[in-house]
Amino acid sequence: MVERIIPDPNPNPETEAFWEATKDGRFMLRYCGDCGKTHWYPRAICPHCFSDSSEWRQASGRGKIYPYSVMRRAAVPYAIAYVTLEEGPRMITNLVDCALDELAVGQDVELVFKQSEGGYAVPMFKPAG
């Protein structure tokens, strides 16, 4: 089966630490030392309270499908989704290693990394097993 080519994320100085961690199989979230909230996508300044004392913590990698959609008009059909992470935030991702016609809103999913074109480890999700 032909695999979908995953475009590179284009990291920048603000996000390099995130992509460095993914090389070791770790999926990191930002936690604010002042307001205590976590957020997605990762930023230097907390988007809840504008504190600059956020820190990285490893996420559980567990979540649920919020909604998804299977793109049929592509060389290789694929599923995009919002996943609600166990830690709270919702992120855009892909659902992989699954039958595209058997996905469901609310389904439990777990983290898996897939390699992008340029070799980045991109966080994605598959049905929890």
Binding site: H39, W40, Y82
Partner: protein
């Protein structure tokens, strides 16, 4: 300070082209400017304010003012995608009320079809430097699947069906049959829509708007100049704008920025949903209309699917006629930006100049609403309420 009743739309022009292989983008901007000025009964030399968004190549007003050789004392390049030109109307009213200009020209133009974009399933042409890019681009984000996820969630939360969404397209097709410039003039049925190919679950091909070249322009002016012209008076009485994004991860796809922009516009106008005789509702996709009608308060949250069904949006048939030009779903979606044409058709309705088959009788108050950007990621909602004086 409210700008209620301080600005009038006196010129409105929709370019008749839907594929402009033989024209430049700047040329299209100038053609729609010329058309709107002629419609108003004004000339190029009367323009002292110019508004455009990123569909104008280069630095927006800088390049376009020079190209058209305008002499203006106020410019605004607010860019919120397809709702830009609706926000321009509100900002023009503010500039006019503040005395910064007296005749504002707003233009939109582009040629995505001629440039080879024939469908919306391709990745968005986003800037790799924008903050969200690296968190979305690897996942194959397109305009289509962003909106599709909103539809999927709406179906899950509220029980909305594909057949209900299809009614939006059916209504637009009933209107488009009377528009000689419309890209798709065939009347379609609910069955046609749900049997068209699935493109991004749960959206079918016919849940999606057209991709067209062309553009449109508006002239906004003050009361004194408006009253000196020979056109029916279309007055802006309420406006609201609201960006909505992913809220730092607290994504909620059950509502759009219309839930914020709508109440602002209604409060300023001092009218209610029951007063609206006609509504132009941005129809990038069928789900967009359902979501916006709920958020604007035309029905309760979650009841949008029922509300749009059974011809309720068809002029002469239903309670709330929308998009009587055929909308983006059937008529025109120039440069992938549908706010401009939404205002133009609302102006036609208020003037009594819509096609006789779709003209709403005694149309004295109309609403135009748009969503620019991605309904499921980040967008800007704009609501305008107009009254015929």
């Amino acid at each position: 300070m409210s700008t209620k009743g301080m600005a009038y739309v006196v010129g409105a022009y929709e370019h008749p082209t839907r594929k402009a292989t033989d024209k430049s983008i700047a040329q299209l901007h100038a053609e729609v400017a010329k058309g709107a000025l002629a419609d108003a009964g004004l000339t190029k030399d009367d323009v002292d304010g110019y508004f455009c968004a990123s569909d104008a190549p280069g630095h927006g007003p800088l390049n376009m003012v020079d190209y058209m050789n305008l002499n203006v004392r106020h410019v605004d390049a607010t860019n919120t995608g397809g709702s830009s030109h609706m926000i321009h109307v509100a900002h023009a009213a503010q500039a006019i009320a503040a005395g910064k200009c007296s005749v504002a020209l707003i233009t939109l133009a582009g040629r995505p079809r001629s440039q080879g974009q024939e469908k919306g399933a391709i990745p968005r042409a986003d800037n790799p430097l924008q903050a969200d890019f690296q968190w979305e681009n690897p996942y194959g984000i397109t305009t289509l699947n962003i909106y599709a996820m909103v539809a999927m969630r709406h179906m899950y939360e509220f029980g909305t069906t594909s057949e209900q969404l299809a009614w939006v397209k059916v209504a637009c097709s009933h209107h488009a049959q009377h528009n000689p410039n419309a890209m798709l003039r065939d009347v379609v049925t609910v069955e046609d829509v749900v049997n068209s190919p699935m493109v991004s679950d749960p959206l079918h091909r016919m849940d999606c708007c057209v991709i067209s070249d062309g553009g449109g322009a508006l002239i906004v002016t003050n009361r004194e100049i408006a009253q000196s012209l020979k056109r029916p008076l279309v007055k802006l009485i309420g406006a609201g704008e609201a960006p909505k994004g992913q809220m730092a991860g607290a994504v909620d796809l059950s509502y759009s920025g219309a839930a914020w922009s709508g109440p602002r516009a209604f409060a300023e106008a001092g009218v209610t949903q029951a007063d609206i005789k006609y509504a132009s509702i941005y129809d990038s996709f069928t789900i967009t209309v359902v979501m916006q009608l709920e958020d604007l308060g035309f029905c309760a949250k979650g009841d949008g699917g029922k509300f749009v069904s059974d011809g309720n949006l068809i002029s002469g048939v239903g309670k709330l006629p929308i998009n009587t030009d055929g909308g983006g779903l059937c008529n025109n979606h120039p440069m992938n930006r549908g706010g401009m044409t939404k205002v133009i058709e609302a102006v036609r309705q208020l003037r009594g100049e819509a096609h006789s088959a779709v003209q709403v009788p005694n149309c004295d108050i109309a609403l135009a609403h748009g969503t620019g950007g991605g309904l499921g990621t980040r967008h800007a909602s704009a609501t305008l309420i107009f009254e015929r004086e």
